[in-house]
Symmetry: C2
Subunit: 478 residues, 2 copies
């Protein structure tokens, strides 16, 4: 087990230096690599396979709800970006500009899309004429670029992968229903597939998307007590539609404006998975998105029949689960720690003794519990353990979040708590930007969201003391 120990020692402990722990994992679990393209990441096969699984699960949900995928250009002419004033103000400072094609200077410079509202609106203005053309439920999987100064793999990168849904509706009510529906899709995906509990709510005006009427969000708490915005869904009302002249002829023969939404999640989700479930041995992956759900490791490989039997079991399991086998000449100890690092949910060990007894050993990644399992009931047991592991991940994350959520009584207690203890702070807010800014200044927290369906924790603003009806989750955020 010497090799095992050595590998483990190579990761910084998360209590010692959380940021370094994170960086160690993304590198050592082979999720990413750096390149000479500053601020951008190479997503390696193991990391990309996680993204492919996320894509597949979400895309299926989107399509079941009637959404269709499209592909817009990656460039936006400056004049098009300028068409909606709040939007351009929000994005222009952080876009990459293409100024030359080959050796020629372009007549108009193009930005690499930071998001595609303007492109979708221009297209919708072309294709929406009548009530028969509505709703339009489009989505796009692509990469976008935002010229960030400080970057971290998955969390804040100059280029990242995402999906952006852009929909157009006949009425404000339909647009609002879509905005809420897609937030619920994200919440459901986070909780069921990523095993990460989230708080659903609305962003304050200060934190909402550039150009949106309302932004809804799912907020998750990471291991270190920082919040992560997991996904957002925006209701644009008819603002963009009016700027772009998107109107439809209704049944009553009147021209009416369209109502618009957009919603997106990104490779940031992989950062959330790492920081919600990882431990000092590396990554811990929820089964739904794990590239390998079961890793078969033959023990005493030199003994006759071991590799053959283990391979047979791997092929059998691979019909139902994503199952691989490692028959390389490395030691079992090295392999154990390698696949712990990679967060493979279940390890299956099998040696000559196990074969004799028609059994194998299953080890859960999250709590390292061992199970001796008869080969006759292997599939059932694997499915059971994967479910239990998923439930366990969710419960642990939920317990951690609860332990890390406080409701300070007054401003002093809030400041003290924000200074001393990581996590969410719940407090009432009057709705004034000034009070929101003041909390940022005094306690270094931002408003995460005004949660849906939660009871108020008082009736006065924690900052100014005036009557307050809005409960807000506050926190330090990625």
């Amino acid at each position: 087990m010497a090799n095992d120990k050595k590998l483990v020692e190579e990761i910084t402990s998360m209590d010692e230096d959380f940021a370094q722990w994170y960086t160690d994992i993304v590198k050592k679990a082979d999720l990413i690599d750096y390149s000479s393209v500053k601020g951008c990441m190479i997503i390696r096969p193991y990391g990309y396979a996680i993204w492919e699984n996320i894509q597949h699960l979400l895309d299926t949900r989107f399509k079941e709800l009637g959404h269709e995928n499209v592909c817009m250009p990656m460039f936006i002419p400056e004049s098009l970006l300028n068409k909606e004033k709040d939007h351009v103000a929000g994005f222009a400072p952080e876009v990459a500009w293409v100024t030359h094609g080959g050796s020629e200077k372009l007549q108009e410079r193009l930005c690499v899309r930071p998001t595609s509202e303007t492109l979708f609106c221009e297209h919708y203005a072309n294709i929406i004429k009548s009530y028969r053309d509505l709703p339009k439920l489009y989505n796009q999987w692509c990469s976008v670029v935002r010229w960030e100064k400080t970057t971290r793999p998955f969390l804040r990168s100059r280029e990242f992968l995402w999906q952006e849904g852009h929909t157009m509706h006949a009425t404000a009510e339909e647009a609002e229903a879509e905005t809420v529906q897609m937030l619920n899709v994200y919440a459901d995906f986070y909780e069921k597939d990523l095993c990460i509990p989230v708080i659903k709510g609305q962003k304050t005006d200060k934190e909402k998307f550039a150009g949106a009427k309302a932004t809804y969000t799912v907020e998750a708490l990471m291991h270190d007590g920082k919040a992560l915005q997991g996904g957002t869904s925006h209701n644009f009302g008819s603002g963009f539609a009016e700027a772009f002249g998107i109107q439809y002829l209704d049944k009553d023969n009147k021209l009416k404006p369209c109502y618009q939404t957009s919603w997106g999640v990104s490779t940031r989700m992989i950062g959330a998975i790492i920081m919600a479930h990882g431990d000092n041995n590396g990554l811990v992956l929820p089964p739904a998105i794990a590239p390998i759900q079961v890793m078969v490791i033959p023990v005493q490989m030199h003994k006759e029949g071991v590799v053959e039997k283990a391979t047979e079991i791997q092929q059998r399991l691979n019909k139902t689960f994503r199952c691989k086998i490692d028959t390389s000449d490395k030691s079992p100890g090295w392999k154990f720690s390698e696949y712990e690092m990679k967060g493979v949910p279940l390890r299956l060990e099998m040696g000559p003794r196990d074969i004799e007894n028609n059994q194998c050993v299953l080890v859960r990644r999250d709590n390292r519990q061992k199970y001796f399992v008869s080969l006759d009931e292997l599939e059932t047991k694997v499915a059971e353990l994967l479910d239990e592991l998923a439930q366990g991940l969710y419960n642990d994350a939920m317990a951690r979040r609860e332990a890390m959520t406080e409701t300070p009584e007054d401003l002093d207690a809030f400041i003290e708590s924000a200074k001393e203890k990581p996590g969410f702070k719940k407090a009432m807010w009057c709705g004034d930007l000034e009070c929101e800014m003041k909390l940022k200044e005094l306690a270094d927290v931002s408003s995460r969201c005004i949660p849906f369906d939660e009871e108020p924790v008082g009736d006065k603003c924690i900052v100014c003391g005036k009557p307050a009806h809005k409960l807000v989750y506050w926190g330090k955020a990625y």
Copy 2:
């Protein structure tokens, strides 16, 4: 049937103006739309669904052969692009340059990837150390940018979608085997799934990829007799690897260079499908990649039970095929011509009389043949007709190619034939660039490929008369 006729009349006939016919189809079959981003296209849901089907089928083949997907940055720093001299000479004149991030001028400008050999090489230099790390079989699905002056949807676009495989091997032999294997994957996909016969062969030095040692290609013939390069597979030898210092420590403890390949196909395939199978009524889609394989059109929808029964049949078929129903208030005639335009392989008509007789009518898109089919054997019959249609498309395309392939006896006959008749010309070539250029000048054709496994058609160069061992397919190309 008035509506039907009207719709059909809206398409330019392919004999009258092939280019306009093509443009009509891409627009009227809802494959693409234009935007204010010059030279780039919007791929609409119906067009993108074709691409998703292509992706799925190819990705499955790639993965079965051990390839893994990754994601590289979309930018390449100028100094990195400059690292392999033939490569940069080939691509620098046609790349888009990013010069500013936000309001700041970049220290080094970045091009938007026209292809990613340099990025992959930089990464491979980082991760390949030992023979144990080989082979590396990576692929990436993404979009690339080439600043073309004249553009046409799918065929030549400033941004297009593609996949680029990039592999590294321990020996020259393995790299060659991979190059050939991937060309065969493309050929197989073209012939079996896209129903387009292709000629496999090698590009001349003039036509090969910038920086490659050898480029293999699959060439297809379009309806108008022009050739289309369907996909390419390149053997780079160790050229890039040496420029990038990619070496591995072999079992014999010696440092050795790696051998590299790359291979790609793009959304150009959709252009090939249109021009190989389309007719004057619109698109004709091979079943394997058709977003809708069977379109159910209820007839006399106002009659009791028709919509219900047709919907029941659609839901039943949708378990095995991609099947949709159109219950909109448009006339059956309008619907017939709409889904002919969209190239849906089979139309299923069903009216009260059919329901009474426990049958429906199936109509093949390619030859409009009608079949009265009992509902008891519907699945079998649909599968049969889809297979027959696929085989029919392939046979028609093959017959057309054969009719359009000539073997001129001498240079005069070649020039005459190239002027008078569209299609492939087969002729012997001595291997000199000069003769290749001369044919371009005299007959306005380029070399398409030196075919694998074909008998020579003579022993003298058609241009200079010197001894020649290379048979070449020549043609006008997209």
